[in-house]
């Protein structure tokens, strides 16, 4: 490969006011990953460059950084694929406090995961001498979520996280899916209840950033969608969040017999989901303002959802499912 200009973020919280991009020129060897390049820079050009790494085989989750603005595993990214016009920019993950160069404080990330009680709560009423049985089919329901390597890429790039640091966040929700759908777990309903609270699963705006950045099959948005379906199917609609989805349903699915617009009116959603509680609506204002300030506010003209027919079908199925449940 020809010489590449690596623009790498350098920062020391003890001495620097803010991070700066430093340029390193390097000719990456054939087949080099970005982690190989970072190591070459560290070992040959600037020993003080600091970043995390361990396995170098995309399984330990240590080496996530922002490459040209988006979170990726440095060890899973071929340098050749990251170069744009002879340059690559490498910066620390977002949504966390910077400590040094490419190293951020991960504590908020771990804390978010801990919040979902991420351990199996078995049904202790039954005694087993051997392993519990679980069909291949049931195991597959938790297979994807269980591939998460806790790299925090999703957490870094999640838009809601950026405006609401109390949001559970994609990795924690993906992790939660793994227990809600585990046939061996006894707390499915309590878990859904917990996830349904404010700052929980209903606060996700489906931007899909997390799934796009996720280097494994964990794909948080897909897991969040499964969780929401499970909550709706269980009739867990009596809270702000589910009302949010009902609002969503009305917005696209048709409200009280009147054909819906097929448009997602995100500005209408908060009002609907908080019901008529003034306090509730007021509590959203800071989030709204922050969203506005960071240009993350929903578009004033609602966008037409692709495949709206599919979404409507989905809601019709929910309705049928719920009715069956009532019988």
């Amino acid at each position: 490969m020809a010489e590449v200009r690596f623009l790498v973020s350098k920062y020391n919280s003890e001495t620097d006011a803010k991070p700066r991009l430093q340029e390193f020129r390097l000719d990456p060897p054939q087949g080099a990953t970005l982690l190989d390049c970072l190591n070459l820079i560290k070992w040959k050009l600037d020993g003080t460059l600091s970043f995390r790494m361990s396995c170098r085989s995309a399984i330990c989750g240590s080496c996530a950084v922002r490459v040209n603005g988006h979170a990726r595993l440095a060890c899973k990214t071929q340098a050749a694929d990251a170069v744009i016009d002879g340059r690559v920019t490498i910066e620390p993950l977002g949504n966390m406090t910077l400590i040094r160069d490419l190293v951020v404080d991960l504590e908020p990330f771990w804390a978010s995961v801990e919040k979902v009680r991420p351990w199996l709560v078995p049904d202790d009423s039954k005694k087993y001498e051997r392993e519990r049985l679980q069909s291949h089919h049931d195991q597959l329901k938790i297979d994807a979520a269980s591939t998460c390597i806790m790299c925090a890429s999703c957490f870094s790039d999640c838009n809601v996280m950026e405006v609401d640091p109390k949001f559970l966040g994609p990795a924690a929700l993906a992790k939660a899916q793994r227990f809600v759908f585990d046939t061996r777990d006894a707390e499915k309903w309590d878990r859904l209840e917990l996830l349904g609270q404010i700052h929980g699963m209903w606060d996700c705006t489906h931007c899909a950033e997390c799934s796009t950045r996720c280097p494994t099959d964990a794909k948080p948005l897909e897991r969040i969608t499964e969780l929401r379906r499970a909550a709706m199917a269980a009739g867990m609609t009596d809270n702000n969040a589910a009302r949010h989805v009902l609002g969503f349903r009305e917005s696209i699915g048709g409200f009280k017999g009147i054909g819906g617009s097929g448009m997602l009116n995100e500005n209408y959603l908060p009002v609907r989901s908080m019901g008529l509680s003034i306090g509730g609506i007021l509590s959203l204002i800071p989030v709204g303002l922050r969203m506005f300030a960071r240009k993350k506010n929903p578009p004033l003209i609602p966008h037409v959802i692709e495949k709206v027919g599919e979404v409507r079908k989905m809601f019709r199925r929910f309705d049928e499912y719920n009715k069956e449940g009532e019988k």
Binding site: G47, S57, E114, L120, P122, Q134, H136
Partner: protein, 570 residues
């Protein structure tokens, strides 16, 4: 100074399993240079052995025998028997803690074939078994958070060991650079292996034998360090692992002439012969010019397995070959070569993981070790695939139980905080104030080159002597190593220098042990002594540090209870 009842160093399978055993019963701290979920155990792919007999008429007896035979009869049979007997209950427990295992058609834990095992015995979670097990324990560690104190991203600097008893450790907070002394009644190491000293290795950057060397410097001898396993299927160039599951599922090894060459070396087991045998077969093919295009690699061919099986059973392997070599194994064979993989040697312990300090098996008070950093010895001269995750789980659990018993009746012993801090500080200051004329990177590369060339798959006296001389020079040069980062926060350059000092020192022990052992056994293959020599060498090496820093070797008998050594044929 911080005080805990127990300080565990290492948050891989062994360390976390021990912690969970003690959580809530005594005050436990877990120290680790990486966050728990990032420990190297997570990289294990293929499976964990246990005679669950889910898909065959397997038995503990058969697992026991396979392990002893695989070890080339160097395993201590009392330990191997305990490990294989404890295996089913340990795996059942992991399942009950929530581990996501792949399942068979009856809903039981699925099991597959693995090299050297006579039955399908490897319980697995696709090809990310270590990840599934480690994350299960990580989950449990969050459950027990109130009962266990975690010091993640802290680096172990020294073991405080005086008058036959371990009293604590010193450590550095990587994030802030601050030094701390931890005083404890019991110290337990689960610090992992030492495979990083080789050029081609499957090991994570963190596998630098820190715990092993910390014990050694404190006066504990090290057992069987010359036994390093080379795995036959490392991705060409770097050595990233292509799990043995690739062969377990039916992959072929093919040389440059398009031949399935294993029929020349292990006619009945073919590709599923134990690792040492397959690695030597590959190396012989390569050395004799039958690598692919005459180069230093051969192929593993999975194409005949078909897309569906590859995607279901070997997804991670496929992805690794795509990410790192741009090869999709569905339509192309993968270039591979032997890669340094597992450290059979380590800190000598008894079957309850208490550290022993000499040939007479004198116990170190308050010091335990489990997992890859320890040598029980269940793997002897060659570990069977899937037996090391098992080792870490079984002995992590046993270590937890034994350390708990010990701690309940032990007291804190005195520690001179200022003196310990002073020693640790001095070691760091020395690294930060050298003449700065030598590059750590050059030293590390030369070390890896030396070890791969002369202490790798094949070894001979001539090469080992070359290595010995080279290592001496490298250690000399290391005294002038450049650490340009003088800061406190996240000084990874300093951490890497500490790791390199460990690599240099244990490499010497590997070379000394290999030079002395004038036979070929398991993973230790001497070109000049190609036969196993039970009359003289059916014994464990114990390497000890002399006052002048040199290595002296002693030996300890092998425990043989049931199976008399016989020739190992596959």
């Amino acid at each position: 100074m911080i005080t805990h009842d127990v300080v565990i160093v290492g948050s891989g399978l062994a360390g976390l399993r021990a912690a969970i055993e003690m959580a809530g019963k005594v005050d436990v701290a877990v120290v680790s240079k990486v966050y728990p979920s990032r420990s190297h155990s997570g990289a294990a792919q293929g499976g964990v052995a246990a005679a669950m007999a889910n898909s065959s008429d397997d038995s503990v007896e058969s697992h026991f025998f396979d392990t002893v035979k695989g070890s080339d009869y160097l395993a201590d049979q009392d330990a191997a028997e305990i490990m294989t007997r404890d295996a089913p209950v340990t795996i059942t427990e992991m399942e009950r803690l929530g581990c996501v295992f792949s399942r068979d058609e009856k809903g039981r834990i699925a099991q597959r074939e693995f090299g050297g095992h006579s039955h399908p015995r490897a319980c697995y979670a696709a090809d990310r078994t270590g990840h599934a097990l480690l994350h299960t324990l990580f989950e449990q560690s969050m459950k027990h958070k109130a009962a266990v104190t975690y010091y993640s991203e802290w680096y172990l600097l020294s073991l405080i060991y005086e008058e036959g008893s371990a009293r604590g450790i010193t450590m550095m907070n990587i994030r802030t650079g601050e030094l701390e002394v931890v005083r404890a009644k019991t110290v337990l190491f689960g610090t992992g292996g030492y495979g990083r000293a080789f050029k081609i290795t499957s090991n994570a950057f963190a596998c630098t034998g820190d715990g092993v060397m910390t014990a050694y410097r404190a006066g504990i001898p090290l057992e069987d360090m010359e036994f390093v396993q080379f795995h036959p299927t490392g991705l060409y160039g770097q050595g990233i692992l292509m799990s043995e599951a690739a062969r377990g599922e039916g992959g072929y090894l093919v040389n440059g002439k398009g031949e399935r060459f294993m029929d020349k070396y292990a006619k009945s087991k073919m590709e599923l012969a134990p690792r040492d045998i397959v690695s030597r077969a590959e190396q012989t093919e390569i050395n004799e010019g039958r690598g692919i295009g005459g180069k230093d690699f051969v192929h593993i061919d999975l194409r005949h397995l078909g897309r569906e099986k590859i995607i279901e059973r070997l997804p991670q392997i496929r992805q690794l070959a795509i990410d790192f070599l741009g090869v999709d194994c569905i339509d192309k064979p993968i270039p591979i070569q032997p890669t340094a993989h597992y450290s059979m040697g380590g800190i000598p312990v008894d079957v309850d993981c208490q550290v022993i300090t000499d040939e007479k098996k004198t116990k170190a008070r308050g010091f335990f070790a489990a997992g890859e950093c320890s040598c029980v010895s269940v793997h002897g001269a060659n570990r069977l695939g899937t037996n090391s995750l098992l080792d870490a789980c079984v002995f992590g659990r046993r270590a937890g139980k034994a350390a708990l018993d010990y701690t309940l009746s032990a007291r804190h012993e005195s520690v001179n905080e200022a003196a310990e801090l002073g020693k640790a500080r001095k070691r760091l200051d020395a690294l930060l104030s050298t003449p700065e004329t030598e590059s750590a990177n050059d030293i590390r590369n030369e070390l890896k080159e030396t070890m791969s060339n002369h202490a790798g798959v094949y070894r001979g006296a001539e090469g080992l002597l070359v290595a010995k001389a080279a290592l001496k020079l490298l250690r000399e040069r290391f005294k002038s190593v450049r650490v340009t980062d003088k800061g406190k926060l996240f000084n990874t350059e300093l951490v890497e220098a500490l790791e390199l000092s460990n690599m240099l020192e244990y490499s010497e022990i590997i070379v000394e042990g290999a030079l002395a052992r004038r036979e070929s056994r398991g993973a230790h293959a001497r070109t000049d002594f190609p036969k196993r020599d039970d009359a003289n060498w059916l014994k464990h090496t114990l390497a000890r540090k002399n006052a002048d820093g040199s290595v002296s070797l002693g030996y300890k008998p092998v425990v043989i209870t049931k199976y008399q050594p016989e020739e190992r044929k596959y």
